[in-house]
Amino acid sequence: MLVIKLLSILVCLSIGVVHAQELTLKVSTEPTTMKIGQSIQLQAAVVDGQGNEVEGREYLFFSRDRRALSVVDTTGLATAMKHGEYSIVVISPNKDKGRLRADIQVIIEPEAIAKVEIEDVPGEIYAGVTIPLSIKVIDEANFERPEVDVNITSSNTKIVSVAPFKKLIANSGGKSTITVEAGGVETKLDIKIVDNPIVKIELAADKTDGRSGDVFTLQARALDKSGKVVQDAPINYSFTGESYDVSAAPSGLMTDEGKFVADEPGLYVLHATCGSAAASVTISANQRNITRKIDLIGRGSINTKHTSDLWIWEGVDGKDYAVTGTWGADGKAYFWDVTDPASITLIDSVQVDARTVNDVKISEDGKTCVISREGASNRKNGLVIIDVTNPKDVSIISEFSENLTGGVHNVFIYKNHVYALSAGRKYYSVNIEDPANPKIVGEFELDTPGHAIHDVWVEDGIAYSSNWDDGVQLVDIGNGIAGGSPSSPVQFASYAYPSGSNHAAFPYRDKKTGKFYVILGDEEFPYGLDPGGKKPSRAAGFLHIIDFTDLKNPKEVAWFQVPFAGSHNFWVEDDVLYAAFYNAGVRVIDISGELLGDLNRQGREIAWIVPEDPDGYVPNAPFTWGAQPHKGHIFYSDWNSGLWSAKLRPVVPENAAVESK
């Protein structure tokens, strides 16, 4: 490491605080220039009014960008790591409040360009095709340099010409050398263009008559002049169309694989092209016509505190019950008789040492309830196991806080085990075969930097945990797919998306298509809180539909979004998605068939209902937490108003006779 002593004359820079003795902190006013890998002893001195250095002063140097320019010590030894312009702060502390502070500017010079890399292109390219180039410029310090201008030339523009945005156009058969130059460094790429053998494209769609939201799958066959199929033909798919509604523009989505979905009902022409060969097929995307009326049936009002999660179940007596949690309140969970959804009746409650009972779950046999605790007065949170064999007289069996003191935000019960989150970092498998004596038998935690977890849901022996930046994690806890068990969970698949907002997950298998989807929900509050604390908050975020049919290559294929609202908890039953969308209440969505694109724009929303309550805890501020279908009704909990029930009206056949009195 090269250490250079900067002995240049320090020019006065009075950035620091001047106090009674008019001391100043002198540093160089000119930027210090460094090379990557170089270390420099930065200089600073406190001087008095006469310019004499004050003895005995200490200095603290720190960089505003430690990853590019490191220095955090009292000596001022700075090491350059990445090109750019940076600043270093110097502080000379003083116990008599005469602290001085100044900035030193540092320029780290970029290294020369070392190489230009071009991602592989096919050995032979058919004439008439456009080829995008992927180019990386890398310098001597191994930093990628996207800001450096790149020049692309072709040795024979009749064969290959250069188009804007780093694209090549294959004009005719022959060879051409492509030269890519950046910062004085060149890389050459020999390209061979062959005559396009494709003279005809045969195009068919799996159907020509469907609805908006239905996926039309194209099958294109590229044929040469002898009628032989050209297997490696690079076919581009596109569409044009006209809407059936004169007030709406046609819109939809076409994938690279030739799958088309219409957002707007209309007549669409789907195209396949390769060079000069082209074919098209016309399809009709008709109105989806799946909207249904939804009726508010009943409610169990809670307007003295916030309500959190809900769970509806059939009790051992055959009647139907609900449990709801409370948030930021007094640690209560409420039990309801919902056998008659029009007459929801509060039948019992429990109170535990907590401020928030965020999550509530019931065992498969309807006998055991688990609630989560946060905000315990002794800061030892955990979970509480409750006997709900008689929901009218529930009783706490045990409280469990081992390794869970940091708060249990969410839980799930599956086959005598509770999967309980701990302090937002991991989840434990807790055996509750003896509910009076729960015991931890296993745990699952990621090892990524700064990992966190928000929720876990279990179905068919697979735990789906939502891990914010790390997305959804599919973990075998007894399914057998990866040899996992409750005591030895085994992760076997995952999917993360850039926003890092993954808050909840629900699996869904479409029986008709055989597709296996996992629906991932965001939780986002980008608009912040009302500084006055009076207006309700507004959420954002949406539902991401991930195709996990190929577990090793999950793919985000569709989404459901509600403008000016954000997703929270959701549930799938019989090809219908019931989603709580905070400010926008409950949304009921048709997710039958293959899913692709923007489900809301495709008219897949069946119904919606918003729990507005002028007498709510916060009046007229719907903030729906979760929704669950149960025996033909939809139950949903709202943060400001409690438990509600609704019911979709039956589907009326289009040609049904209308009886009138």
Binding site: F62, D353, G424, L529
Partner: protein
Amino acid sequence: MKKILFVLLVGLVMSVNGQNYYVYVTAESEDEVALIKFDGKDAVVEKTIPVGVWPAEIEGPHGINVSPDGKYWYLSLAHGNPYGTLYKYSTETNEVVGKVELGLFPASLQVSEATGLLYCVNFDLHGDMVPSTVSVVDPEDMMEIQRIETGVMPHGSRISSDGLFHYSVGMMSGELFEINTTRLKVNRVLQLDGKKEEPAKNAMAGMDHSQMDHSQMDHSKMGHDKMYHSKVKPTWVIPHPTNNKVYVAGNGSDEILEVDLEKWEITNRMATGKAPYNVDISPDGRYMVATYKASAETGVWDLKKGKELARVKNSRKVSHGVSISSDSKYAFVSVEGIGGEPGTMDVIDIKKATKVASVDMGKQAGGIIFWKMEE
């Protein structure tokens, strides 16, 4: 007539006095900060400031402090995904002017007058029993510039009056740490349990947990119960303004430990109420006031006499923080409460050792800091 004259006289004295005291108090289970005014008689919540960004998640405002110039207040939000956040607010507008992500469960914090930097312990209350850190933040840019490793669950912390040394205690490792605020290094460590070895090293210190796959471990056979848990369980440390001593709340041993900084040893053990939690010393150096978390009391001590003058019953259970006014007259005490109870701030007249006012606020009143006196 005498009564009327007396009332008039008291009123006259009050109006001449005319001092208003302002205190910021966090409501940890409400995600709010209350700005409370005490006029010598009544305490009222002047303003409630919602904090954090997640309305449906508790972010847990924990540590709070005011900049030496009184222009800003700083707040640690303990819970995040997974890291907590330090916020900077203007005292003029009570609006956010900056923030920076810190470590796990950032807690107590203070700005050094000597360096201008802010030092915040990363409590990591619910993490593994491994040493945590003190984050050093440049409050001008709201940028973390260094993390200094200290003990297991570092909680209470305060800076010496000259701003040159930062003191913090490792709650579970039972250690007192002195950090040089300029060199950003641990200067000295004092084991408060009286053991020769360093408990932090004996717990699980030194292990690189980032490289371990905990999911593969059988924790049931790891003997977590045998990990080191300090008997003193120190939860707070406060340097005396002049006598070169610091005072440590021994939450587990029901005592306050006096540590002589010159000798770097415990020179006195003062028996307290149950579970002393936070401690403050009056700016004139005469009084020490400590909250007793488990007995819901606040102890007022005369430090010259080394004697507890009184134990004042707090308004509700779970006494938490204490901050003394700059005129050394009043101690402001936050009381958490339990479950759905509101939090409360009690005002204690130190000389009289009596509670003179209290006001309810958001749930789980915790971090507390005296801001200013104003006529």
